[in-house]
Amino acid sequence: MNSKIALVTGASRGLGINLAESLIDDGYFVIGVARSPIESWSIHPSDSFHAYQCDINDESQVKHLFSFIRKEYQRLDLLINNAGLFSAELLQGTTATRFEKVLNTNLISVMSMTREAAKIMRKANSGRIITISSVATAIRIPGNANYGLSKRAAEELMLDFAIEFREVGITFNSVRVSFVEETGMAETLSSDARRKYESKLLISRPLQPKEVFHAIQFFASELAGSITGQVLALGSPE
């Protein structure tokens, strides 16, 4: 295959679909991953898109996903860790099980996916790994502790991967987003919580999906090979 190959998690809906479609428009062949049955996805298999059902919280399923990629495509150029689990819950009301569930999706699965992607990319001495993070890492309000912590840790994880894989030709970065239009993100928050976020954002209007993709394109570009372990914050104060 001549096209570059990108893998997008959480590709069945929301921002994942936007990213997958934008990558296809950019000439990539995209492998989309999501846990739900493929028939229910809002994006359908095509010559430029392969849908792969996989629970990224299950390490064995992740290993088989990457075995499939190695055998079918022999390489991977870009991984976007987009899948995420939002949580708006006060610490005093949460349970260890719910806390763990958010950490599993937003942190542990990012580790598994990034580790496996880096193994393929290392053979080519080239690759880009980008994790979608959140302004909740920088803006702390009551109710976002679990989610914000998991995303902060995921950003740190990218930096740690960058250190371990230094000079191998793979870059690891994060794009920190606020509410993105057309993705349903804003609807997950109460209006009070949303007002608190917006009052602290530098750019309080919702982001357009193409603005997020622009940041992805930047990190994925040929000339960004020396930019690694970084966070690009869209509209966020830090």
């Binding site: 075995s67 193994k119 290392r122 053979k123 001495n125």
Partner: protein, 99 residues
């Protein structure tokens, strides 16, 4: 099982050597020492060797093995009798994992 283990270890060695800036470093000689003062690879190359073996086990043999399991993580990798001391002992260890 030993021959399958030798096969995937050999493929992984080729991959590791291709990553080496200084040219091939590990030979197929089963006595080649991997780690320690007279070892031929550093810890990062060793980690790459191990994960590549795991990949070939899954891709070629459909066997999902974990080499760095809890027992291994408690081992002294510098000790002479550790399973990763030489290419030969590594093949034996992988062979047991594949059973």
């Amino acid at each position: 099982m030993d021959s399958l283990a030798a096969q995937i270890v050999s493929k992984a060695i080729i991959d590791v050597n291709q990553q080496s800036d200084d040219g091939p470093r590990i030979t197929d000689d089963q006595g080649t020492r991997l780690l320690g003062d007279d070892g031929v690879i550093d810890s990062l190359a060793f980690a790459f060797l191990i994960v590549t073996i795991e990949q070939y086990a899954l891709d070629d043999l459909n066997k999902e093995i974990v080499i760095f399991d809890d027992e291994v993580m408690e081992m002294d990798f510098e000790a002479d009798n550790n399973p990763f001391a030489t290419v030969g002992s590594l093949i034996t260890f992988v062979s047991n994992k594949l059973r």
